[in-house]
Amino acid sequence: MNQRSSNLLDEALGLDQVIEPWPLRGQVVAIEDQVETSGSFVLHHLLKRSLSPNSSNVTIFIAFSQPFSHYDRILRKLGCNLVSQRDNSRFFFFDMLKLQCPGITPEGGLIALYGKIHKTISALPEISWKNVSIIIDDLSLMEVAANGSSDYVLDFLHYCRTLTSEFDCSLITLNHEDIYSSEDRPTFFIQMEYLADILIKAEPLATGLATDVHGQLTVSNKGRNKVSNFHFKVKENVVECFYPGRS
């Protein structure tokens, strides 16, 4: 099902072979993008992979950016039905668009969110724990929801990381590089780079805009000590990844 074209990305992430047990278990995957090259397609691709019929993966999706209908529409084009996955308890959608409630402090809100995630995973049978993926879209909006306090968000991310050690699940986050580019020391952004086991950067080409290529992806896989770089083009139903010069 259109698997051939995303093979380079799957290969770089270790998803090209068996996906049961989930190859990304116990790892933190950080996706970084820019305005010109949105990295959401990587998020959608990982979501599709984790909800593949070949695996028993469970995904907890924490959405600060878009409502459920948005992801449903996109994943439908990729061949995945989020509604039925949600009904089958393989997909848990935490709508955080309204996190800003009066009376709840940012820290309190994040502690509660952590508790909710922990509870959701604990409720699953123990064998499924390592097949759980926690996806956060996206970190900069989480910072906004926490009233700009990156400290609380970093604390929350730390606790999410303890989930990866506790349950052996995986954590996938998306953040935008250009939001922090004006700062002298983008601490929050750099912190994620240190935390990540796999770092995926979506950047425009050095040569500028092009019709055949939307941008380049650089995947740094610390666990495998491997760095890959290739171009991508986002199409209607699929993302094509290819080495430079071969589209």
């Binding site: 922990h118 604990s122 050690s165």
Partner: protein, 377 residues
């Protein structure tokens, strides 16, 4: 050089002196501090087990990684953890540093998992990382639990100071580290630091507190810090597996010793080798353009032979330099009659002379006069 570090930590502290302290610092461009830290930790622990070091126990204060990471690390190096329970203790500041799990357990149906029990004999969970004093006391208590009271010393490894600096001001962290160094039961102490997460002054404070500073730098600096260019990709790939390792020792006699090595990151671990010669590195980095950027041997010799127009050449004799005032008769250099071209070159012609052609005959020799003299102010 990595050997020297391990030796210094092994030898420990002298009576009445501060314990040696090591900072291992890196940046995103060469993020290998964890591998170096793990290497130093496993080496030190091996010497502790073998009885070859001053310290008799190791306390690991772990903020960034779970205790099982360290236990697995030592197990993979061949250490039998089960039997060395009384020589290593881990203060677990990773699992619940701010007490969130306690808070949640109090309010709703939160069941903390019990896989912490597996490591509980070697790891104690610490829940109040914002309180430096309590942290200090817990570390000392753990250490004394390992080696007893009295004169026996233990070592401390902190992973990492960045997390501490997030929760407490730099002055508290500095005081905390200083107090640890002055405690008479501490043999040596080392910590990990990511320099780009903090202001320069914070890194400077920690470096002042250390007797050894080990820093990791990328083998190749990326152009303008840009990481988007494909040309830089090969450098990124190179930097992801190799780096430069600089160590600065502050010795007891006041001297400072600086050493450098190259570091290679492999899946199996980290390797230290001596630095290759500069030329070998630079060869691969000269951009391929259509003109020659290098000097040939002859060109280099000729360039060295040119007498520069300074007043003194350092050999006691005053030098007469052509400054444009010599007459036609005088001098070895001829003034061509209709020299239109403005040729001023430091020509290499064996003797290394500077040849100066005047623009035209009408031009007056260079004058000493101040060109502003004719201003009527």
């Amino acid at each position: 050089m990595a050997e020297s570090i391990c030796r210094a930590l092994r030898d420990g502290a002298l009576e009445g002196e501060l314990a040696p302290a090591l900072t291992i610092k890196d940046s995103v461009a060469s993020p290998f501090a964890l591998q170096v830290f793990s290497h130093v930790l496993s080496q030190l622990f091996s010497s502790i087990l073998a009885g070859k070091s001053q310290s008799r126990g190791l306390v690991v204060v772990s903020f960034s990684r779970s205790p099982s990471f360290y236990l697995d690390l030592l197990k993979n190096k061949g250490t039998d953890i089960a039997s060395s329970n009384n020589q290593i203790q881990i203060l677990d500041c990773y699992s619940d540093p701010l007490g969130w799990k306690d808070q949640l357990a109090g309010s709703r149906n939160f069941t903390a998992l019990s896989n912490e029990v597996l490591v509980s004999s070697t790891a104690i969970v610490f829940r109040e990382v914002k309180h430096m004093d309590k942290l200090y006391n817990s570390i000392i208590e753990l250490g004394k639990g390992l080696v007893g009271g009295g004169k026996i010393r233990f070592s401390i490894a902190i992973d990492s100071v960045d997390e501490m600096l997030r929760h407490a001001p730099v002055s508290s962290v500095a005081r905390f580290l200083s107090n640890l160094r002055s405690h008479d039961q501490i043999s040596s102490i080392f910590w990990l630091l990511h320099s780009d997460l903090h202001e320069a002054r914070v890194t400077a404070v920690l470096e002042y507190l250390s007797s050894i500073v080990a820093s990791l730098e990328p083998s190749h600096q990326l152009a303008n810090g840009q990481r988007g260019d494909l040309e830089n990709f090969s450098l990124i790939k190179h930097n992801s597996k190799k780096g430069k390792f600089h160590v600065r020792f502050k010795k007891r006699n006041g001297r400072v010793r600086v050493m450098s090595e190259e570091v290679h990151i492999e899946l199996s671990g980290i390797n230290f080798t001596s630095l290759p010669s500069e030329g070998a590195i630079n060869q691969g980095l000269v951009p391929k353009v259509q003109f020659s950027l290098q000097l040939s041997e002859k060109e280099r010799i000729d360039k060295a032979n040119v007498v520069l127009p300074f007043e003194h050449q350092g050999n006691g004799k005053p030098i007469q330099i052509y400054d444009g005032r010599r007459s036609l008769v005088d001098g070895k250099h001829e003034r061509p009659f209709a020299a239109v071209e403005n040729v001023q070159t430091n020509e290499n012609c064996g003797s290394g002379e500077i040849i100066y052609y005047r623009d035209s005959d009408d031009e007056m020799p260079d004058s000493d006069e101040d060109p502003d003299d004719d201003l009527d102010i």
